[in-house]
Symmetry: C2
Subunit: 220 residues, 2 copies
DNA sequence: TATAATCCGTTGTTTTTCCAACATACTTTT
DNA sequence: AAAAGTATGTTGGAAAAACAACGGATTATA
């Protein structure tokens, strides 16, 4: 257990919580460690969620099946990230599955205990709640930004919306993006090749310069 | 002040908090009441947010301007709803404005105070945090669902994804939707008339029946 | 009840995207 | 350095969406 804590002590969820407090926290939040083999199911669609997960080791993917049975990958969970927290707090049955991409270890924490500090109002509770609110709010802002991009009608507008948002975040007209072309196309909800063609057009029109992950927005 | 509390005492944020505790809560969370005339700006883009709002009376709209200056309405805030909470917790400058659609009254609450209970660990803090986590998590789930719809490539698929999700939520093949056609088109990010045409097709193909706000998914 | 305003479906045209197939450049492996 | 694999850009035809314009139905208003 101590070993697991070592791996996640500098996660966002546990930010600014003293190492000494971590093990008492585990008891308070009914921490449970579980191991999964590659390919195993960590959480399944429709199963009630009372605890949320903090990945200590490995890699998970959150997948969803639509009304036709088509599979789509919602996100990849890396170590130190939490998952399923939204469903733990809305008391709604999840519509997605979580699968282990490689052998993985997850620390499950009781969502109820986290938001209802114990009698003695342990000092770390305050910080935990703050961190959790930050994480969920942040996801919220990110989802809203994605929607802002996707809501545009043309690929060109989607691209420019995405790039201007990045430009603001990186505080520069020159930006580096985290996605490859396929990843960016998936993020924007468009076809990769069509997007590439659109990028070329923007370059020809003198609106944009780019090379691999580097982009530069030219002023009009 | 007492008068304002009366109007919001059964809001989701204040759910399961005793009326007697409300006024002490106000002090603890540095509650501030502000009035706005129709058309006035409640929050403006780029202004640091330390408090989030709870609308006690009136109607607000959250608007955003894209890189071309086009205005889009992100959401309408009705009484008892909170707003700007995500930005209050991520310490990020908001990229949207909040405007009063009619004369409105807002109760601002200190986001820091809410997540950091005072020494005596007032009982209502626990419940407030729980309620806030519920609200934000819920928004999260809703945004994810919207993205699930918008990510589909065709209007037909967007419609069917939306309707299946509603069908699950309403636990029936017969559903009532909250949007009019223009509202649904905006939600899905498509053109109203094209969407109408697509609905007609689905009806002809025997996949769907509908009339105004009533829809029925027919089994294949 | 007449009138205006709004909502919704239809149609035809233009624009954009999707899709498949392929070419080129870059990376990794052997 | 050759070979294989991967990522990106290009093209052309088919499909879909956007757009504009209009007509009928419903609702709100005078």
């Amino acid at each position: 257990m101590i070993n697991e804590l070592e791996k996640i002590k500098d996660s966002v969820l546990l930010q600014d919580i003293k190492v000494e407090e971590l093990s008492s926290m585990l008891g308070c939040l009914r921490g449970v460690i579980k191991h999964y083999k590659k390919g195993e199911e960590v959480l399944s669609e429709g199963a009630e969620i009372k605890k949320f997960g903090l990945l200590t080791e490995g890699k998970l993917q959150i997948v969803q099946y639509d009304y036709l049975g088509n599979k789509s990958i919602l996100s990849i969970i890396e170590p130190k990230q939490i998952f399923a927290e939204a469903y733990a707090y809305v008391n709604k049955l999840p519509s997605m599955n979580v699968e282990a991409l490689v052998d993985s270890t997850v620390l499950f924490l009781d969502s109820d205990k986290l938001s209802s500090p114990c009698q003695n109002c342990c000092s770390f509770h305050k910080q935990l709640v703050k961190n959790l609110l930050f994480i969920i709010s942040n996801k919220n802002v990110n989802l809203t930004e994605k929607i802002e991009c996707m809501a545009k009608r043309t690929t060109k507008e989607k691209l420019l919306t995405f790039l201007s948002l990045e430009s603001i975040k990186q505080n520069s007209k020159e930006i580096y993006i985290q996605y490859d072309r396929q990843g960016l196309a998936d993020y924007l909800g468009v076809e990769r090749s069509a997007m590439s063609a659109e990028l070329s057009k923007l370059k020809n029109e003198g609106i944009l310069e780019y090379n691999k992950n580097w982009f530069k927005l030219l002023q009009k």
